[in-house]
């Protein structure tokens, strides 16, 4: 049983579904897109669906290559949105600027090169079957996996400082918990690169780190959304100036 794969897929799917009404109203469709891509990627990492789709595509694991590129797209969108949302100017420049484009380009190239160097026939989720076929394939699969995790790790590294600053800030608690979950996701994404080159004995750790990264990011997004929803509910004003005898505005959400 692929428990973590299914858990990730279900979590992504649920978060995606609760965001549907907002997406229909045109609110933050990019975040919806991120969740849609994340759901699709987790769907393609579950062995059953993966093998079914890959057979349709010819059975040479092109699905896995596509999945890697979809992950890159997701990570790019997450990087742009998070650095904008947290007003991390430097991080935004690194992700959106020349450095970020080179990192994305090189990662795409590295994934493609390692993929086409392998004999990838025989549908197998995560290319486990390919790895088991021995020879050159067995040596290349870890590098292929590492290449696929380089770009997410690169973006995650730049997201960590602003996320940490948010966790330590005095913003609303739910927002800070959301940032903490994302920070855990970013940490796992960064760790997944060295983990994919680790010896086989670390199998379980590799496996957990990969899915914890997705779960951290997706649950972080869910909590940001939820915190906004809570703040939007009418409640007694508790803004500073009330206590001082003047009038002020409580934290409330615009644009809805």
């Amino acid at each position: 049983m692929a428990i973590l794969e299914w858990t990730t897929l279900i979590v992504c799917g649920v978060v995606l579904l609760v965001r549907v009404p907002d997406a229909i109203q045109g609110r933050n469709r990019i975040v919806f897109g991120i969740l849609l891509l994340a759901t699709l990627c987790s769907f393609l990492s579950v062995p059953g669906p993966y093998e079914a789709i890959d057979r349709l595509l010819g059975g040479w694991n092109a699905t896995d290559l596509i999945r890697r590129y979809l992950i890159f797209a997701t990570v790019l969108l997450v990087g742009l949105r998070v650095t904008t949302g947290l007003a991390a100017v430097r991080g935004h420049r690194l992700v959106a600027g020349t450095t970020g484009r080179w990192a994305l380009g090189l990662s795409c190239l590295a994934v493609a090169v390692t993929f086409f160097l392998m004999d990838t026939r025989g549908s197998s989720a995560g290319l486990l079957g390919v790895s088991d076929s021995g020879g050159r394939n067995a040596g290349l699969v870890p590098y292929y996996a590492a290449a696929g995790r380089t770009y997410p790790a690169f973006v995650s590294l730049f997201l960590m400082p602003p996320l940490l600053a948010t966790v330590r800030s005095r913003l609303p608690r739910l927002v800070r918990i959301g940032a903490l979950l994302m920070l855990i996701g970013a940490l796992c994404a960064a760790l997944s690169v060295p983990a994919s080159l680790a010896p086989d004995a670390w199998d379980l750790a590799q496996y957990v780190v990969n899915y914890a990264a997705v779960l951290g990011y997706v649950l972080g997004l869910a909590l940001f959304w939820f915190s906004g929803l809570m703040a939007q509910r009418p409640r007694s004003p508790r803004a500073a100036l009330h206590g001082h005898g003047l009038h002020g505005h409580g934290l409330h959400r615009n644009g809805r």
Binding site: N28, V31, R81, V82, T84, G85, L86, A87, T166, S169, R170, L171, P172, V175, G178, L221, F224, W225, S227, G228, L229, A231, A239, A240, L241, G243, H244, G245, L246, G248, L251, R253, N254, G255
Partner: protein
């Protein structure tokens, strides 16, 4: 430190021998579960004692002093200093006083008009009571001494001041280290009212009247500056939060 449950139950038996716990809770507005929980944990909050004392028409201060860990409250009945009294006037009341004085100054806009009745000062405590009280009695080393004497880390003490909270225990310790009467901190912390502290009616107003124009203007200016900083920080945090919701929510 909160009151030991055993001593509290003795006290309760002494002051209200014939009243059931349920009745005590009803008249004093304390939730029964809250009191039960405090008794089970062995620590009864000072606020519980104050509420019950009020319901029984007893002086919260005297009842508090009947406990061993607050016995020193009975010994020291020094009245608050003028600086302490002024610290318990809300910032907006201070600003109103500035305006009132300028209106009635010779040549001021309201010089010929008989002074309108100044509105009563809003009751203590106010939104920054705790910090203003500590500032009023601080000789520069007070916070360190309180930390050393109580073992409360300076940053925790500071956090309480910022949150406008002060545990009764720390309020007493602060007053002790500053060498002032014990009531100032208890009023600033909101545990007891001015009247319950034995402050004469109008004491704060008289302390305010005793300030020279220069002193009042400088004090109001300091308070306004602090308020401005707090509000600016809150506005900044609100803008940050809105930005997160706008982009990620």
């Amino acid at each position: 430190m909160p009151l030991p449950a055993k001593a509290f139950q003795h006290w309760l038996h002494d002051v209200a021998p014939a009243t059931s716990t349920a009745d005590i809770c009803r008249t004093s507005g304390i939730k029964r579960t809250t009191l039960a929980q405090q008794l089970v944990r062995g620590k009864v909050a000072e606020t519980t004692l104050v509420s019950i004392s009020r319901a029984l028409q007893r002086s919260p201060l005297q009842e508090l002093a009947s406990f061993e860990n607050y016995a020193e409250l009975a010994g020291n009945t020094r009245p608050p200093t003028p600086a302490e009294l002024v610290s318990q006037i809300a910032t907006m009341d201070l600003l109103r006083a500035v305006i009132d004085r300028s209106d009635s100054a010779p040549g001021g806009p309201g010089a010929d008009v008989p002074a309108a009745a100044t509105p009563e000062l809003s009751p203590a405590p106010h939104a920054t009571s705790v910090r203003n009280w500590v500032d009023a009695i601080d000789d520069g080393e007070l916070r360190h001494r309180v930390s050393a004497a109580t073992g409360v880390a300076p940053q925790n003490y500071s956090a309480q001041l910022t949150a406008n909270r002060l545990s009764p225990e720390l309020a007493v310790a602060t007053a002790r280290e500053a060498g002032v009467g014990f009531t100032g901190g208890l009023v600033a912390a909101g545990l007891i009212t001015e009247a319950e502290a034995g402050w004469p009616p109008g004491a704060r107003q008289r302390a305010l009247d005793g300030l020279s124009d220069g002193e009042l203007a400088a004090l109001a200016g300091e308070r306004l500056q602090t308020l401005g900083k707090v509000l600016r920080r809150q506005e900044h945090e609100q803008a940050q939060t809105e930005k997160i919701w706008e982009n990620l929510g």
